[in-house]
Symmetry: none
Subunit: 400 residues, 2 copies
């Protein structure tokens, strides 16, 4: 939303806004029944909310564009996901709860295997065991660079995060992965003159890494890519005067929320735990982002029935959220993950907002077809927060 406009109309308040994100919420019809996951699931509580609220289909990034988790969430947080592109290195770092500083440069790394001539024979080093990877990262963490602190943090299997911390570092760097076997790793190159020194530093680090790994048969080299700094984003507090909390089991979603200034609250082991966490901290915050993952996992696995069950499972817990009596409850998704595609997709995502001053609309169940009838229509996801702010009484009149 236009920052100058926000400055004029945002007012502080004590109302509570809850944003429930069901990851990968949207779906497509099952070929046998012609019904989507949401249309198949028995979800009386969500349907009742749709009757009370206003509905629509949210477009996370742009028509036809399939979003990753980063852009999908940023949009629901009220940010333009194209203007604020989150680099892969940053996402990988926040995904392991690494506490990035604003000037850090992060990259996604992985161990690979090269032959005696330095030619890549396996880009993923046979998906080396995480335990081995942890050990190798410890060795690489000992590499020293002049004037720069380095962190090498294992992720899972062959993947790790490389973070450079120091003055004047630039992320305008190309990656080293040639994207296929049979070629040597590429040197890191600067894409802007400001990055000349950073490129040199990373290349020295890679050379040192190669030396330290040289004795090994496999996982004897590294590939790094996705160099990125945190995007510079004004916080939700600055823009919306909201004290915002993020409750999620997976660190990546808390990390994404941290990028916009939310306070992360680890979510425990289940969605029930997440709700309990929200209840516990109810008085400390006025915006809660609460994340539900099973819908996406089932969709990505292509398991239609399990996605239906994930929807039915969360439906049973909805009364625990409404019992907290948020002034505004938003229910949506960061993107669609239709089980029949077993992947994220570009299809608009069912969305609803429930508050006392909702003007009734024609959507009276919560699914793709019904939300299309809703008064929000098919709308950019980054507009959702403005609707919530309005219904929460946190926007004053614009102009006299």
């Amino acid at each position: 939303m236009d920052e100058a406009l926000l400055k004029e109309i945002v007012i502080p308040g004590t109302s509570k806004i809850v944003l429930l994100v069901m990851d990968g919420l949207g779906g497509l019809p099952h070929s046998g029944t012609g019904r989507t996951e949401l249309e198949t699931a028995h979800i009386p509580h969500l349907d009742a909310l749709a009757r009370d609220g206003i509905c629509g289909l949210s477009v996370p990034v742009a028509p036809g564009v399939t979003p990753g988790s980063g852009p999908g969430h940023l949009a629901l947080f009220g940010y333009d996901p194209i203007a604020h592109n989150i680099g892969r290195g940053v996402l990988e770092a926040v995904g392991i709860d690494f506490d990035l500083e604003p000037s850090d440069v992060a990259a996604r790394g992985n161990f690979c295997t090269v032959d005696a001539n330095g030619i890549i024979t396996d880009r993923r080093a046979g998906r080396v065991a995480t335990a081995t990877s942890v050990e190798l990262c410890k060795q690489l963490a000992q590499i020293e660079l002049p004037g720069v602190q380095t962190f090498v943090e294992p992720v899972r299997e062959h993947r790790f995060v490389l973070v450079l911390r120091g003055e004047g570092l630039s992320d305008r760097l190309t990656g080293t992965d040639p994207n296929r076997e049979g070629l040597p790793p590429l040197p890191v190159q600067p894409t802007a003159t400001e990055a000349l020194e950073s490129a040199d530093l990373v290349n020295r680090w890679i050379a040192a890494a190669r030396e330290r790994l040289a004795g090994r048969e496999t996982a004897n080299m590294v590939l790094v890519r996705g160099f990125a700094k945190q995007p510079m984003m004004p916080s939700m507090r600055e823009l919306y005067k909201l004290r915002a909390a993020a409750i999620a089991i997976y660190p990546m979603y808390r990390g994404l929320a941290k990028l916009v200034g939310m306070t992360p609250l680890p979510g425990g082991a289940s969605f029930e735990d997440e709700i309990e966490k929200m209840k516990e901290h109810w008085d400390e915050f006025d915006f809660f982002f609460i994340h539900y993952k099973p819908t996406d996992t089932a969709g990505e696995d292509g398991d239609f029935q399990r996605k239906v069950e994930a929807l039915e499972a969360i439906d049973k817990l909805i009364p625990r959220i409404t019992a907290l009596k948020p002034d505004v409850l938003m229910v949506g998704g960061d993107h669609s993950t239709p089980a029949i595609m077993a992947a994220h997709s570009w299809h608009p995502v069912p969305f609803m907002l429930i508050a006392t001053l909702c003007r009734p609309d024609r959507a009276d169940t919560f699914n793709e077809r019904a939300c299309e009838l809703g008064s929000l229509g098919t709308f950019p996801a980054r507009q959702a927060l403005a609707h919530a702010m309005a219904h929460a009484g946190r926007f004053t009149k614009y102009g006299a």
Copy 2:
């Protein structure tokens, strides 16, 4: 669509996209029946496609704006028709298949009649016969300008195209038509300092033309306007990695397509020929723009019944297109031409997209009222291609 975004998400592929443009497709209700041309026509094949696909109403340029053929097509090709304005001179040149070079300056010209004092008595020289015009153009083509090559190509009746080819020419020039009789032609004036020399050259050419035509009673002077260079547009290949072909009977539509890098394939004498041409070249391209003119011609003539028949005629040929099994088929129009207006109009245009991963919507026939119920809603025409790219599997995920 945002070019930086496209760079990140466009991937090459082997899928096939067909864009069928029925010129002037949209209509308005007949006063007797209350039904539009599409609602009156018996079009079972188009209706069946609407049931399978997603529908909407496309807005070619902006709400309320009546587009010419240029902007109407550019939008369907995925370009912002306001940012990429095609000058009248260029449109006239591509309309006669003139092969413009990027630095050429083209203008629309016409013969007019002036009296002994140089006052215009007939701006169109009595719509002089095309044969005479061809002869006069030959004479004017002999005019020589220093350092500049000139082309004078007849169009039809009093109209011709003037093209200047040389170094450093500018199109920032005013026209000479005072827009009414009783005044002398205006001198060409530069609207930017860079165009000083070009203005001088064109004024010398006009003086020479006047001399050569001076012996004549009518058609003894020229008017020129709409000076323009080709707009600088990235090609569909650059933006979308599409090998695109344009199939149309009329050169103007092929010419428009050439401006965005499509390969023009002359369409023969009928729409059947056009489909045959597409079939013939099916393996060479992955995007086909195929143009159908009779809907617009009938609309412009104010012939409701003939427009209905033009729709019924193309409906019978739809199976020949679907038999080619395109991965994505788009059916739309460059603008509305309601027969009751006998002119282009601003009304949004019925549009549908058919592909395997379409999420079903409520539009189950193909006409103005039904398309309004479609899940694409009323949308900017320039977004159509993004939907096609998504459904053709040619966009990868944005962001991690």
